[in-house]
C-alpha cells in the first residue's frame, strides 16, 4: 500500500509538487547562486580589459587630433599619417595573400583531399596557428630576409604576416565547407554537379559568411601583431616606395616609442597609435558581428 504524504494528505509522495526540503531545494539554490556567481566572474575577467581601455584612452584621446592622424611629415614627432597608411597597405596585401592560401587550402582540404591527407593538413595548420608569433617572425627573418635576400623590407614583412594569418583563414574555410550538411552536398552531386561545380554554386554561397568572418578575425589578429613585422622590416619614415622599402607601422611604433620617457611626445604618440589599433580591432569585430547576423537570416531553415 502506498504511503501517504504528511504535507498533502491523500496524495502519494511522488505526486506532491510542493516539497520544500532536502536535495531538491539545495540544488535549486545551487542553480540560483551559480546564476549570480558566473556573471560576477565575468566582470572580474573583463575588468583588466576595461582598465586597459581606460588607461590607453585617457592618455591618447585628450591630445589626439585629426591633424595628427593625417600628418605624414617624416620629420614631425606628432604624426601618424605614414604608419596609418603603411599599416593599411600591409593589411590589405597580407590579408589578400592569406585569403588566397587559406581559402583554397581550406576548400581543398574539406572537399578534395583524402581524409588521411586532410587530417595531416589540419594538424599542420593547427600547429602553425599555435606557433608563437615571434617564431613565425624569426622564420620570416631567416627565410625571406636572409635566405631569399629580400632584406628587412616591406615584402618580407607582408609575406611573414600573411603566413601568420593564413591558418586562421584556413581553419574557418575548412570548417565552413566541412559543416555544410551532407544531404545538401549529396543533393548537388546527385543533380549531376561535378565536385567543383558543387563548391562554386552551392558550397561557396553557404560557406561565404563564415569564411568572411574568419577573414575579418584574421585581420583583427594580424593588425595587432608586432613580432612578424618587427623581425622582418626596418623602420621607415615615409610610405614604402618599393616592395624592398623600410616600413613604419602602428604596432612597430608602439613597440619602439612606448619605452620613451613618461609623458614625452613619443610616448603619447605610442598611446595614440595603441588607441587607434584598439578602435580598428573593435571595428573589425563589429563588422564580423554584423556580417554573421545578416547572413544567418538568409540561411535560416537550411537542412540541419
Amino acid at each position: 500500500m502506498a504511503t501517504v504524504s504528511a504535507h498533502a494528505p491523500g496524495l502519494a509522495p511522488d505526486d506532491v509538487l510542493t516539497r520544500s526540503s532536502g536535495r531538491l531545494r539545495w540544488r535549486t539554490g545551487f542553480d540560483t547562486w551559480m546564476g549570480w556567481l558566473l556573471p560576477l566572474l565575468f566582470v572580474v575577467a573583463i575588468f583588466p580589459i576595461l582598465d586597459l581601455v581606460y588607461y590607453i584612452s585617457s592618455r591618447a584621446v585628450p591630445t589626439l587630433t585629426w591633424a595628427i592622424l593625417t600628418n605624414s611629415d617624416p620629420t614631425a614627432i606628432d604624426a601618424l599619417g605614414v604608419p596609418i597608411v603603411t599599416t593599411f597597405e600591409i593589411m590589405v596585401v597580407a590579408t589578400g595573400l592569406a585569403v588566397l592560401l587559406g581559402v583554397f587550402g581550406g576548400v581543398a582540404t574539406a572537399e578534395f583531399l583524402s581524409p588521411g591527407s586532410a587530417e595531416w593538413i589540419r594538424a599542420s595548420a593547427n600547429m602553425l596557428a599555435g606557433a608563437p608569433s615571434v617564431v613565425v617572425g624569426y622564420f620570416g627573418y631567416i627565410a625571406f630576409v636572409t635566405y631569399f635576400g629580400w632584406g628587412l623590407s616591406y615584402i618580407a614583412g607582408v609575406v611573414t604576416l600573411s603566413i601568420f594569418m593564413t591558418p586562421y583563414v584556413f581553419r574557418t574555410a575548412d570548417l565552413a565547407f566541412s559543416s555544410i550538411p551532407r544531404p545538401i552536398r549529396e543533393a548537388a552531386l546527385g543533380s549531376g554537379a561535378r565536385p567543383s561545380q558543387y563548391v562554386v554554386r552551392v558550397g561557396a554561397p553557404i560557406a561565404f559568411p563564415q569564411i568572411l568572418t574568419g577573414v575579418f578575425l584574421a585581420m583583427a589578429i594580424g593588425v595587432g601583431e608586432t613580432a612578424p613585422l618587427v623581425l622582418t622590416t626596418t623602420h621607415g619614415v615615409i610610405v614604402p616606395q618599393t616592395i624592398y622599402s623600410p616600413v613604419s607601422f602602428l604596432t612597430g611604433l608602439i613597440w619602439s616609442d612606448f619605452s620613451s620617457p613618461a609623458n614625452s611626445g613619443l610616448q603619447i604618440l605610442a598611446f595614440q597609435a595603441a588607441f587607434l589599433l584598439m578602435v580598428i580591432v573593435v571595428g573589425l569585430n563589429i563588422v564580423v558581428r554584423f556580417i554573421s547576423a545578416r547572413y544567418r537570416k538568409r540561411l535560416e531553415g537550411l537542412y540541419q
Partner: protein
C-alpha cells in the same frame, strides 16, 4: 544544348535499368546481397522493407551515390540502356545527370525558387530561354507551379516542407532524366503534403522510370505498379503491387505487410 526526351530511343518499351548481381559491402557486413531485377519504362516500382534492409543503399547504388559514403564497395552491374554505369569509362557525373534523385528530407539550396529548379540546367550551360521553359514545365509537373508562379524569385527556404520537397522533385525533373530515384520522399512531411507528393509521383509515371523507397506499405499500395520487398539485403519478392500486398508468397513479406515487423 537540347534536352533529350525521356522516352527510350525508338520508343522502345524495354528495360531502362537492369540490375545484375548487385552486391554492396561495408567494412563490417554485406548490405546488399546479389540483387537482380529490371526496371521497364513507364513503371513506378516501390522498394519496401524494414529499417536497415538495404533499400536506401539499393537506390543509392543505382546512380553511383553509394560510393560517396566512405568504405562502401559495390560489385555486380547496373545497366542503363545497355551501358554498365560501373564500367571503367563511365563518368559518375553523367550517370547522375540521367538518373535523378530526391532525398528523405527537402534539400533545397539557399537560392531562389527559380534558381533551385534551374540548378541542373545551369550545370550543363543551357540557354536562358530554354531554362525558362524547362523551369516552368518542371514546376508544373511537380505540382508546384500554381503556388509559386508569381514569386519565383522568393528564397526557396521560405517555402513549407512539402513545397520544398516538390521543388526538389522539380529540380530533379528539369534536366529530363529517364530515371528518378525517390528515397522516402515523404518521410519528413505531414499527411496533406504527403498526399500532394504522391499525386505528383503518379503524374510522372508516364514519362519516367520511378523507383520509390518507402517503409510505408500504404504508400506503396497507393502509388506503385510493382513492389520489390527487401529483407536483410536480399530481394525476397518482386511482383505487381496488388499481388505482393494481397497474396505474398514469402512469409517474411507477409509479416512485413501485416505490420509484424518494420
Amino acid at each position: 544544348m537540347t534536352i533529350p526526351s525521356s522516352n527510350p530511343p525508338g520508343g522502345s518499351e524495354g528495360n531502362v535499368l537492369s540490375v545484375r548481381d548487385l552486391t554492396v559491402r561495408s567494412k563490417e557486413r554485406t548490405l546488399l546481397d546479389s540483387i537482380s531485377l529490371d526496371f521497364p519504362s513507364r513503371t513506378l516500382t516501390a522498394v519496401v522493407g524494414p529499417s536497415g534492409c538495404g533499400k536506401t543503399t539499393f537506390v543509392r547504388s543505382l546512380n553511383r551515390m553509394a560510393e560517396l559514403t566512405p568504405g562502401l564497395r559495390v560489385s555486380g552491374s547496373v545497366s542503363y540502356l545497355g551501358q554498365n554505369i560501373y564500367g571503367p569509362e563511365v563518368n559518375p557525373v553523367l550517370v547522375r545527370r540521367r538518373i535523378g534523385m530526391v532525398f528523405q528530407r527537402p534539400t533545397v539550396f539557399p537560392k531562389s525558387i527559380f534558381e533551385n529548379a534551374a540548378f541542373g540546367l545551369r550545370l550543363i550551360n543551357t540557354e536562358e530561354s530554354e531554362i525558362d521553359r524547362a523551369v516552368t514545365d518542371s514546376l508544373q509537373r511537380a505540382g508546384l507551379w500554381e503556388e509559386v508562379k508569381d514569386d519565383l524569385d522568393r528564397p526557396a527556404l521560405s517555402l513549407s516542407g512539402g513545397q520544398q520537397q516538390r521543388l526538389c522533385i522539380a529540380r530533379a525533373l528539369a534536366t529530363r532524366p529517364r530515371v528518378i530515384l525517390l528515397d522516402e520522399p515523404t518521410s519528413a512531411l505531414d499527411p496533406a503534403a504527403t498526399q500532394r507528393v504522391e499525386s505528383t509521383m503518379q503524374g510522372l509515371k508516364d514519362d519516367h522510370v520511378l523507383i520509390l523507397v518507402t517503409h510505408n506499405v500504404g504508400q506503396a499500395a497507393r502509388v506503385s505498379d510493382r513492389v520489390a520487398f527487401l529483407h536483410t539485403g536480399h530481394l525476397v519478392e518482386l511482383g505487381p503491387t496488388a499481388e505482393i500486398l494481397e497474396r505474398p508468397k514469402d512469409p517474411r513479406t507477409e509479416q512485413f505487410i501485416t505490420g509484424r515487423f518494420g
